[in-house]
């Protein structure tokens, strides 16, 4: 199997995730797009671990999984707080801090 297969698949997932972060207005959907990006990064780590015959890539991929879980927990707690205060989770409404 060619390394390019894995890397291109990860690149496609990454670009779709970036598109989702830019295009979506609903905060939960933006968090889902971030998950897509992190999954793409993990695919790259694992492919490089296999290519170099070195397990360090998998170690890093597991770190990414742990950080992603923490990020989703805190992110959804913030979304819930925003919903409680504003009755909406539309991200373009959050402009109080605009200078």
């Amino acid at each position: 199997m060619l390394a390019v297969n894995f890397l291109l698949l990860a690149a496609v997932l990454f670009c779709i995730g970036v598109f989702g972060v830019i295009a979506r207005r609903n905060a939960v959907l933006v968090l889902m797009s971030i998950e897509l990006i992190l999954a793409a990064v993990n695919l790259n780590f694992v492919a490089f671990a296999m290519m170099n015959d070195n397990i360090d890539g998998q170690v890093f991929a597991l770190f990414v999984i742990a950080i992603a879980a923490a990020e989703v927990g805190v992110g959804l707690a913030m979304v819930l707080m925003i919903y409680r205060n504003r009755k909406s989770i539309a991200l373009d409404g959050l402009s109080e801090m605009k200078g």
Partner: protein, 179 residues
């Protein structure tokens, strides 16, 4: 018996395994379709379910890349825990059941050229750099090798991650508390 022994063909070329490539292509197609649906569907619950498909596909690709422990961790953490969190988030923010308008920003079309240019750039770099690199088929990395790394060379980052998880759990409780 591992999966590689099952799908490997006895007299295939060492570098190119047809069955492995076909499996990779099928899973990759499903993953790309599902990822595209996550960012385009008008139904929030459907987006979450398509995300399950993408993450399960990633776990399957991990198995093809001989990372079996990571595949199991991916299934347990993402499909087991993170998706439940997402569904709770959708439920508690009272998303509409069924189609919903206003999920996209006003200037959402801006994302299309950004994504295409980014993919062009990444694809160009990847093809130039890794054109001939082959992922050689191998037995799965033993899990004890992974744990050896965690408890020797990466011990400090490992402990740091455990603190991050603790801080995230406490922070989430503090943020989401009622009063």
């Amino acid at each position: 018996m591992n999966l590689h022994a099952l799908i490997a063909q006895p007299d295939a070329e060492p570098a190119v395994n047809i069955a492995l490539n076909i499996g990779f292509g099928l899973i990759a197609t499903v993953m790309i379709f599902a990822a595209f649906s996550v960012v385009t569907t008008k139904n929030v619950v459907h987006a979450a379910l398509y995300l399950v498909l993408v993450l399960a596909g990633v776990a399957a690709q991990f198995i093809l890349a001989s990372a079996e422990f990571l595949a199991v961790a991916q299934v347990m953490v993402y499909i087991g825990a993170v998706m439940v969190l997402f569904l709770f988030g959708i439920m508690l923010t009272r998303a509409q059941i069924g189609k919903e308008d206003g999920l996209n920003n006003q200037g959402w079309q801006l994302g299309i050229p950004v994504a295409i240019v980014l993919f062009g750039l990444l694809g160009y770099v990847i093809f130039n750099t890794f054109e001939d690199d082959v992922l050689e088929e191998r037995a799965p990395f033993p899990t004890e090798q992974l744990s050896d790394q965690y408890l020797s060379a990466y011990l400090v980052p490992f402990l740091a991650v455990s603190f991050v998880l603790l801080a995230a759990a406490i922070g989430a409780i503090v943020l989401a508390r009622k009063d």
